[in-house]
Symmetry: C2
C-alpha cells in the first residue's frame, strides 16, 4: 500500500492540507491534482481585480506548482481533473485535461478539497453570451476580458449577497450602470435589516439600482446586441452583461459518487478531525459543512478563513497528527463602496431558530474621538441570550473601524462572555483610534439596559 498523500483540489483548503502535511512529515510523498490552471489563489480578491482596484491578476496568485515543488517538495498537477475515487482499492482516477489521457493514482491518505461551485440559476436563456458566474480565477479573467473588449454600458447582477454587492462596486468602477435583481425583499440576509438597510442606502448613494422582490424569468439576446432581461411581471431591462451571484454550493459530486457521506446541508460530512465517513479520506474547505460553535448545529458558510484552517487540520491529521477543528461562529466582513459591514455569531433569526430568546440593542457612535478629524459613524447591533446574559451575536455597519471591532465581539462570544463582562473590558483608547467609550462598550451598555428592561 502506498504511503502517500493525495489531495484533490489546489484550493486554499487543499494547498493548506498539503503544506501542513509536509510540515508534519518531511518525507511523505504529496501529490495535488487541480482541475483549473491555478492553485491557491485569493478568490476573495476577484471582485477587486474585476473592479481594477487590483490591476494584475498575478497578484492574486500566491503560489505556483514550481514554487510548491521547489520549496515544499509537493507535486502539483494543474489542469488535472480527478474524475473518480475508488475507496476500496484506494486510488483516484485522474484525467489530464491537456492531453486527454486518464490514469489511476493510488493513495495512502486522501484529502478532498474540491471547494464550491457557483449556483447557476435555472432561468431560460442563462446560456446566452455575456452571462457569467464568478468562482475561480478563470471566471474572473473571462469577466475582465469581456469588460475590456466590449463596450459595456449596462450590467445586471443577480443576487444581493456579499459577492453580488462587491461586484456592483467593481462594475461601478468602470462607470457602468448597474442593476441588481434580488428575489428576496432584502439584501444581505446574514445581517438583520436595521443594518442591511444602511447598505441599501450606500448602494443608492453610489447609483446602483436595486430591485428587490424581483425574479428574473428569462434572458433573451437583444436585436442590437446585448441582452434583454425579463422579470416576473414582464418588466424588461437592457444589459450588455450579467453576472449571476446567487450563491455557491459544495462541490460534492466526486465524494457522492464514491458513496462518501454528505451532511444535512449538502456538504461533505466530516468529524472535528476533518475525517469523512470513509477510512483514510479527509475533506476540508468549501466542499464540507461545519459546525456553529454557539448552536453546535451544522452550518454551511464557505469562507477563505475556514477553508485555510480546515485544510491545515486535515493535512496535519492525514500526516499522522491529531488536531481538531472547533467549528465557526460565522464572522464575516465586507466593504461595499465606503461602508464596511460585518457580522459574527447569531442574528435574531438564527438565535430564535436555535431556541434562544435573543435580546438586542442598536447604537450609533463615532469610531474615533468626536473632535478628531475624520471621525466617522459606526452602527452596532448586539444580540444577547436572555437566559444566560451571554453575548451571542453582533453586527456592524459604518466606517473602516467596523473591520476589526467585529473581532472583539467574535472573541467575547467564543469565550462565552456575558454582556456584563463585555461591558467591563479595558479596550484601547486614543483620539485617533477610538472614542473614550468604544462603540463596542456603548453597545454592551445599551445591551444591558435592554436585557434588564425585559
Amino acid at each position: 500500500m502506498d504511503k502517500n498523500l493525495v489531495v484533490i483540489g489546489g484550493t486554499a483548503a487543499g494547498m493548506s492540507a498539503a503544506a501542513q502535511a509536509r510540515r508534519g512529515d518531511p518525507s511523505l510523498p504529496i501529490i495535488v491534482f487541480e482541475r483549473t490552471g491555478y492553485i491557491t489563489y485569493g478568490s476573495c480578491g476577484l471582485p477587486y481585480y474585476i473592479g481594477n482596484v487590483i490591476k494584475d491578476v498575478n497578484k492574486l496568485i500566491t503560489y505556483t506548482p514550481e514554487y510548491m515543488k521547489k520549496q515544499r517538495n509537493i507535486d502539483v498537477y494543474i489542469l488535472h481533473e480527478v474524475v473518480g475515487i475508488n475507496t476500496q482499492e484506494k486510488y483516484v482516477k485522474v484525467k489530464n485535461l491537456k492531453s486527454g489521457e486518464t490514469f489511476n493514482q493510488p493513495y495512502g491518505q486522501l484529502v478532498i478539497a474540491t471547494g464550491a461551485v457557483s449556483v447557476v440559476p435555472k432561468i431560460p436563456g442563462i446560456d446566452n453570451n455575456g452571462i457569467f458566474t464568478l468562482r475561480n480565477i478563470e471566471d474572473g479573467i473571462k469577466i475582465k476580458e469581456f469588460l475590456s473588449s466590449k463596450n459595456v454600458k449596462h450590467a445586471a447582477i443577480l443576487g444581493a449577497g456579499f459577492i453580488g454587492l462587491e461586484l456592483a462596486e467593481a462594475l461601478r468602477n468602470w462607470g457602468i450602470d448597474v442593476n441588481i435583481f434580488e428575489m428576496l425583499p432584502r439584501i444581505l440576509p446574514q445581517i438583520d435589516e436595521e443594518l442591511s438597510a444602511l447598505i441599501e442606502a450606500e448602494l443608492e448613494k453610489n447609483s446602483v439600482k436595486l430591485y428587490k422582490n424581483t425574479k428574473v424569468v428569462e434572458f433573451k439576446p437583444a436585436e442590437k446586441g446585448g441582452l434583454k432581461i425579463i422579470t416576473e411581471g414582464n418588466n424588461i431591462f437592457d444589459a450588455d452583461m450579467v453576472i449571476a451571484a446567487v450563491g455557491v454550493k459544495p462541490n460534492t459530486l466526486l465524494a457522492q459518487n464514491a458513496k462518501i457521506q454528505t451532511g444535512t446541508l449538502g456538504g461533505i460530512a466530516v468529524d472535528k478531525y476533518m475525517r469523512t465517513s470513509c477510512p483514510d479520506i479527509w475533506a476540508a474547505g468549501d466542499c464540507t459543512e461545519t459546525y456553529n460553535r454557539i448552536t453546535k448545529k451544522p452550518v454551511y458558510v464557505p469562507l477563505g478563513t475556514t477553508a485555510n484552517k480546515q485544510g491545515k487540520i486535515a493535512g496535519e491529521n492525514a500526516a499522522g497528527g491529531s488536531v481538531i477543528f472547533p467549528g465557526i461562529i460565522g464572522t464575516q466582513v465586507t466593504k461595499i463602496f465606503n461602508t464596511y459591514t460585518a457580522t459574527t455569531g447569531l442574528n435574531e433569526i438564527s438565535a430564535k431558530d436555535a431556541g434562544m430568546l435573543p435580546i438586542s440593542a442598536k447604537i450609533k457612535h463615532v469610531d474615533k474621538a468626536g473632535y478628531y478629524p475624520g471621525s466617522k459613524s459606526i452602527h452596532v447591533k448586539i444580540i444577547i441570550d436572555k437566559n444566560t446574559a451571554k453575548v451571542i451575536g453582533a453586527q456592524m455597519a459604518g466606517s473602516e473601524g467596523v473591520g476589526k471591532r467585529i473581532d472583539i465581539f467574535a472573541t467575547a462570544i467564543t469565550a462565552g462572555m456575558t454582556v456584563y463582562e463585555l461591558n467591563e473590558l479595558d479596550l484601547a483608547y486614543a483620539p485617533p483610534v477610538s472614542p473614550v467609550y468604544d462603540p463596542v462598550l456603548i453597545a454592551a451598555s445599551s445591551g444591558i439596559k435592554a436585557l434588564e428592561k425585559t
Copy 2:
C-alpha cells in the same frame, strides 16, 4: 445631615460620577467644584490641539456648567477650589478663585476626582520662561499661545513616554526642530524593546532627535533669548521652548490632609466599589490607584477610559447603587506620526515581576490582504504564561490596523483564553480589512510554537 453629593473635580471621573449619580437618583442635589475654568475636556486630545490637527480648543470641551445645569440638574462651580475636607463634620472648604472668598459646603456623599498633576522635574532653572508641562486645557492653551506668538525654531521635550512622543509630533507639525531627552536607555517603557525600537525609527524618519541615557541638569536663559539646556556631561543645547513630559502623579494632597488612606503606589486607595478608607467618601480616576486584573496587584495607569468608568461606578454607588470596578489590564494605544503602537496585559518584565514565566513570540504580517492596495505591516508580540498557556499580554506597532486589533487580545486576556483558544478564533476576513490569517492569529500560531519548544 445633608442628603447630597459633592464632587471634587470636574474631571472625566468627576463628571462621570455626577452624571451617573443623577441617573441613579433624579432628585439628589449634586454639586461639582472645579479648580480650573473647564470641565470634562478631552485632555487626551491636547497634543492634537497643540499640533493644529484640532484647530479649535472648544472642540475638546464636551460639556459646560450651563449644559450640566440645564440637562442634568447638576450644579457645577468652575474656578472653585476645594482646599480642605472635614471628614468628621462632613463638609468641604471651598475657595472661590475669582472672588477669593471661602465657604464651607456640607456633603452627604463625597466623590474625590482630583485627577493627576504633572511631575515637574527638580532641575535648576525649571522656572524659566518657555518651560511648560501639559496636563489640563489651560496648559494646552498656554503652549499654543506661546507657539503662535513666538518664533519657535528649536524645542525640547523631556521624557519619551506616550505624551512626550505625541508632543514631538505636534511640534514637528509647526516645522520646529525637536530634541527629546530621555534619562532611560529607551523609550516607551510600557512596551518591550523590540517594538519600541520601531517607534524610535519612526521618530528618526520624522527628523525628531532622540537623546537617550541623557539627563538634563540645568536650564539657563540664553543671551539672545530662549534657553540653554545643559545635560550631564556638559553638553549644551539651544531651545526656544521646553515641554517637560516626565509623567504624572495622583493629586492626593486634599485626601492626605484629610487622613484618607493612599496606597502603595501613592494613589488614593479604594476598594472595588471605589470607596475610600473614610465613610461616605469615594474616589475615582487619576487620583486613585487601581488593580491589574491579571496579577491582582495595585497599578497606577492614569487613563481617560479608566477614569470615566471609575467615575460611573463611584457615582452610582454614592447614589445608593452597588456596582464594582473590576480593575484594568493596562490597554493603551497611541499614534506617533504614521506608526500606531499599542499594548495590553503584561509585558515580559511585569510578567516576571508577577512571578510568571513569560514565553513570547514576535511576528510581522500585513494588515490587509497582501495584494490589496494600501496593505501595510503590523508587528505583533504575544506573551504567554508558560504554566497555564494563557495569553497574558500583547504589543503591536505598525499601521492604523493596530488600533483595534489590540482589543482582540485585551478581550482574550480578560476571558482567560489560552493561546490555543486564541488560535482557533473565527476572525473577520475580507481583502480590504485583513489577510486570510489575521496578524493576531499568526501571532497565536507563533506563540504556540514558542511555547511547545520550551
